[in-house]
Every structure is written in structure tokens, then in C-alpha cells.
């Protein structure tokens, strides 16, 4: 060997540490952190940094393509192994519900307010339109969802639905609640996802959900059953409508990031806000589940109107206290997040 290559000397000097890192990474990829001893785990970051510096040097001085490609790939694998988040699922879940979800909701306070306003606007519109002309009910409410209820139903049959609690019907309603949960949750997830289309479909979804609620309210109001109707809707409705508003808010936040990126680069802004909004949407899915439980179980058991109102009030109190205070940093207590 007469030709002396700097790159060959460099490789001869560092190759051992590359091979060692490769061995560790392979075991880590296969068996997770448990596959390595504490001493090996402690060596990992140092070896990883050494590989990165080797890569930088190799890019500058070596024309052996195999070495550069190998280091490129080794650094990539080691990077993924070193910077993997290793948390247990249970911890992650606890952290999600105690801190991340309520914080994300508070960070979207304005979006939630607008979403709630759209929902209320829809409800008021639906109520006013249906009250002035009962036939409009059919324009707002899907016949499958109405299940035969409508301006043409008798007062007795309308009342029947509010207190439907016979033994075999209860079983069916349990099923119905699960159907409702997955239906609502899917609509909610969709409301978040369609935010990608500029947020307009999310706003439309909110408004049309409000229309349905308003139309029903108008039908019951026309028979003087308003008090009983809200006693029927509110215990689960408080949670469910909040969840609907949250999903809509998440969708609108996405739309906002796309349409009005502000000073951020558009895609970077979308990625940042998309994550926060995704947290809100996922939390809302959990709320839908709670709502379905209340709807499917509690409502079939309790028929007293005052108790239903009390539960609705209690649910609202707990929910808003949770969303407003859970996971606040002690230093920021009382300051409030925009």
C-alpha cells in the first residue's frame, strides 16, 4: 500500500465505534430499551454523537460513497433510537387528560367561543324557522335520526320518547347510545379533519347541528313540553354539545392556520396548530363517550325532571371546572390563557 489516504486512516480510526453503535441500535430496534444493559444505554448518546461527527467529517473529506452512505444510515437509525419518546401508555394517558387536553382547550378559547356561538346561532335559527312553519322540521332533521318524531307526531308519542324506559326498550337504548357514541365521535373527528378544507365545512357542521337541536326544541315547545324536553336533552347534551363545539373549534383552528398563517411559514404553522387542535379533538371524543354513558344509562333510570336538571347542572359545573382549571401551572393561576 503506497497510496496513503486520509479518508482510509479516518475510517480505520473510527470504524470500531461505528460497529459498536450499529450493534446497539439493532438490538434496540428489535427489543426496545430492555434489550440493553444500563451501561450500554449510557454509552448510546456518546456513540451517537461520535457517529454524527464522523458523518460530518466523512462528508467533507471522504469520496468513498459506501462509507458516507453507511454513516448517513447509521446516524439516521441512531437518531431515531436516541430521540424516541419512551413513555408508558398509562402515564401518557394521565398526562393527556390532566394537562394537555384542558390546556389545549384553553389555548383555543376564542375558537371554542366562536364554535359555541355558531351552534347557538344554528339552534336559534332552527327554532325560529320550525316554530313559524312546522314543515321545515323535515328540512333540518334526517328522517332516520328523527325516528318518526316530528310536527305530525302525537303529543303522547313525543312524551313517550322523553320517558322511554320500559325494560326491553332500555336494552335497545343502551345499544343506541353506543351507536350514537360512535356516530357522534366520527362526526366530531370529521369536523376536525375537514378543518383542512379551510374550516368552512367545520363551521357548517356546527351550524347544521344547531339547526337540528333547534328544530326539535320547536316541535316540543309547540306541545308545551319544553321543560321536559330540555330535562331530557341537557344531562348528556351539556357534555355532548361541548364536545361538538370543541371538535368544530379544532377544525376551525386548522382552517385558520391554512388560510391566515400570520408570520409563520404556512406548513410550519399548520403542523404546529394541527397538533394542538388534534389534542382538542381527541379529548372531545372522550367527552362524547361520557355523554353516551349518561345518555344510555342514567337517562333511562331517572325520570324525575328536577333530578335531570340537577344532574345537567352538575355535569356542566364539573366539565367547565375541569376544562378551566385542570393542568394549570401554579405560576399562571388566575392569569388565564388567551
Amino acid at each position: 500500500m503506497t497510496v496513503l489516504l486520509k479518508s482510509a486512516a479516518f475510517r480505520a480510526e473510527r470504524e470500531g465505534s461505528w460497529r459498536e453503535l450499529e450493534g446497539l441500535v439493532v438490538r434496540l430496534e428489535k427489543g426496545g430499551t430492555r434489550a440493553l444493559s444500563p451501561a450500554e444505554l449510557a454509552r448510546l448518546p456518546a456513540l451517537y454523537r461520535a457517529a454524527l461527527s464522523s458523518l460530518s467529517v466523512a462528508r467533507a473529506i471522504s469520496l468513498d460513497r459506501n462509507v458516507v452512505e453507511y454513516l448517513e444510515s447509521l446516524s439516521g437509525r441512531a437518531y431515531l433510537a436516541v430521540y424516541a419518546s419512551r413513555r408508558r401508555l398509562r402515564e401518557a394517558l394521565g398526562d393527556f387528560f390532566v394537562r394537555r387536553f384542558p390546556r389545549a382547550v384553553r389555548a383555543h378559547a376564542w375558537h371554542v367561543a366562536i364554535a359555541a356561538a355558531l351552534l347557538v346561532l344554528g339552534a336559534v335559527t332552527g327554532f325560529a324557522l320550525t316554530a313559524s312553519d312546522g314543515e321545515r322540521f323535515y328540512a333540518f332533521v334526517d328522517p332516520m335520526y328523527a325516528q318518526g318524531r316530528g310536527p305530525a307526531s302525537s303529543t303522547a308519542s313525543l312524551r313517550e320518547v322523553l320517558y322511554g324506559g320500559k325494560k326491553d326498550v332500555a336494552g335497545m337504548l343502551k345499544t343506541f347510545a353506543m351507536f350514537l357514541f360512535q356516530h357522534n365521535a366520527r362526526i366530531g373527528i370529521m369536523a376536525f379533519a375537514v378543518g383542512f378544507a379551510g374550516g368552512v365545512p367545520a363551521a357548517l357542521l356546527l351550524f347544521s347541528n344547531g339547526l337540528v337541536l333547534g328544530a326539535f326544541a320547536a316541535v316540543y315547545a309547540s306541545r308545551g313540553l319544553s321543560l321536559e324536553f330540555f330535562a331530557w336533552v341537557l344531562p348528556h347534551g351539556v357534555t355532548e354539545l361541548t364536545a361538538v363545539a370543541l371538535c368544530g373549534a379544532a377544525g376551525m383552528a386548522l382552517g385558520q392556520a391554512l388560510l391566515f398563517p400570520g408570520r409563520e411559514e404556512r406548513l410550519a404553522g399548520l403542523a404546529r396548530r394541527g397538533r394542538e387542535a388534534g389534542v382538542v379533538a381527541l379529548g372531545a371524543v372522550a367527552l362524547f363517550f361520557v355523554a353516551a354513558l349518561i345518555e344510555g344509562i342514567f337517562r333511562q333510570l331517572v325520570h324525575s325532571v328536577p333530578v335531570r336538571y340537577a344532574v345537567a347542572l352538575g355535569a356542566a359545573g364539573v366539565l367547565f371546572a375541569y376544562l378551566a382549571t385542570s393542568g394549570r401551572e401554579p405560576s399562571s393561576r388566575g392569569r388565564g390563557h388567551g
Partner: protein, 287 residues
């Protein structure tokens, strides 16, 4: 060997060194998704069939079972991807099989938020276009044909978004700031200049200056194919070409030994010039 059609994506590590990943091909993504879809189907069946059997025998109330089944199917369908990506750092069984994984596009660890966000958009990308294609009546009842077609086309755009950008980003990747890459895998081979070029042949600088880095690495590829079919022919052709190009008039050497020596000499020359800040990309790159 890097393919010209492969797309590289640079991720800057927290240490400030850019690491290059190869963006996963659309075919790999589809394959991984199909496998996962199959897995979801199997899991759902594994839950529903025993329950249905129990109900048929009358052990359990049938609507309770229906309720459990609906819930289970929903949970599996919605959280399958997020669960595995959380547990396996951006991989699902399908992705693992096809050796691809989701990574943070801007560097750093893949966060739980990103995983949640990138998987909550699947309803939009999959369910909506499918419904628009196969059950348009449920989606937009009573709408005129032209508006249905327009809406369907619009929804298909979401589903096929990965085909319209170079990084194969789907809606979820955009929303979460992730990119799906191939899990890198390369083998460290012997250093040709050390292992093979046993005897040096004296080349003049003029002879070595005929070629640049590109030609050097093509030569590397040719030499590394030793033992593969067609290797001898390739070596003969390349050696003849090189001899002609550099006007070789020295002693006659066996083709492969000639190329090994030429490779070592060329690399030494180019690397030395690299140290002085002169990188010669290819033979057209005249100093």
C-alpha cells in the same frame, strides 16, 4: 446504490447535523396501509365472532353484545394506528413489515400530539372519499349530479394528496408536521482503496485530472459488483474506456488490477484536492 428517482429529506438533528432520509415510496405506503387495514379487519373479527357465538347460544343479552361490538369496532378502527405509532415510535405492523416509519419532519422526537393529529385525519382521507364513491346518497342526499361530481372530485383530492407532492405527504402528515421515510439500512463494505489496490501503478496528474467525483463513484459501483454476473464484462469495457480516455501507454496490467489501482489513485488525488477546497463534481467540471 442511490436511485435518481429517490427523494431525500433532510432532518436536522438537535445536534445541528443534517441527516438524510429517503422518503417512502407511495407504493410502500399503500402496501403498509393495506396490511394494517387487513390487521384491523382480523382484530374486529376476533372480537365480534366470539361475541356473536355467545349471543347465539343465549349466554348473553344480544343488545348488550351489539353495544360492546359497536364500541370495540369503533375503538379498534379509530385508535389502531395511533396506538401502534405511540408504542413503536412511528411504526405500525404494516409499516414495520415494509420498513418505513413516520418521523418528525423538522427534527426531534416524534411527539404524541403529532401521532394523534396525523391519525385523526384518516376519516377525511379514507372514509369521506369512499362514501362519496360508493354511497353518494348517504353523503349528499338530493343534490344535483354536477355538484355531487364536484364534491366527489374534491374529496378524492384529499385521499390522493400524497401523489401530488414530492414528499408523499398526506393530509395527516401536513397537519402533524411528519414525514414517512424508509428505515435506513446500509452495510459498511470494505474500503476499496485499502483492501484491493495492492500494488500502486504510477499515474500522472494529467491522467487523473480527466475524471471527477461522479466518475469515481461510478467506478466504485462497478468494482463493488465483484462476483455478480456480468462483472467481468463491465470491468473489461470500463478498463478499455479508461485506458483510451487517459491515453494509457504504460505496462499492460490485468483489467481488474488496473481499475483497482486507478480507483485508489483517483480517490487520493480528488480527496487531496478536496482538502484544499476544490471539489470536482464530474469530468465536465473544468478547474
Amino acid at each position: 446504490m442511490a436511485d435518481a428517482t429517490e427523494r431525500l429529506r433532510e432532518v436536522v438533528t438537535p445536534e445541528g447535523v443534517p441527516v438524510r432520509f429517503t422518503v417512502a415510496l407511495a407504493g410502500d405506503r399503500i402496501g403498509a396501509f393495506a396490511l394494517d387495514f387487513l390487521a384491523i379487519g382480523v382484530i374486529v373479527l376476533a372480537i365480534v365472532v366470539p361475541l356473536a357465538l355467545l349471543a347465539a347460544r343465549g349466554f348473553l343479552e344480544s343488545d348488550l353484545i351489539l353495544a360492546v361490538a359497536v364500541l370495540a369496532v369503533f375503538l379498534v378502527r379509530t385508535f389502531y394506528f395511533a396506538f401502534f405509532e405511540l408504542a413503536w415510535q412511528g411504526q405500525t405492523p404494516g409499516k414495520r413489515r415494509l420498513r418505513i416509519r413516520a418521523v418528525e419532519a423538522r427534527g426531534g422526537p416524534l411527539t404524541a400530539e403529532a401521532i394523534i393529529a396525523r391519525n385523526l385525519t384518516r376519516e377525511l382521507e379514507l372514509f369521506l372519499p369512499m362514501a362519496a364513491l360508493f354511497a353518494p346518497d348517504a353523503l349528499f342526499p338530493g343534490a344535483p349530479v354536477w355538484s355531487r361530481l364536484a364534491a366527489t372530485a374534491w374529496m378524492l383530492v384529499f385521499g390522493f394528496l400524497p401523489l401530488f407532492n414530492r414528499d408523499r405527504l398526506r393530509v395527516g402528515d401536513l397537519v402533524a408536521g411528519t414525514v414517512v421515510v424508509r428505515t435506513p439500512d446500509a452495510v459498511l463494505l470494505e474500503d476499496l482503496a485499502v483492501a484491493r489496490a495492492k500494488e500502486a501503478i504510477a499515474f500522472t496528474d494529467e491522467q487523473l485530472d480527466v475524471y471527477g467525483v461522479y466518475e469515481l463513484q461510478v467506478l466504485e459501483d462497478v468494482l463493488r459488483r465483484r462476483g455478480q454476473p456480468g462483472h467481468d464484462d463491465a470491468v473489461r469495457t470500463v478498463a478499455a474506456k479508461v485506458r483510451e480516455k487517459i491515453r494509457w501507454s504504460g505496462e499492460s496490467v490485468a483489467d481488474e488490477r488496473f481499475l483497482d489501482a486507478f480507483y485508489a489513485a483517483l480517490r487520493a488525488r480528488l480527496e487531496r484536492r478536496l482538502l484544499f477546497g476544490k471539489r470536482r463534481a464530474d469530468k465536465h467540471d473544468r478547474p
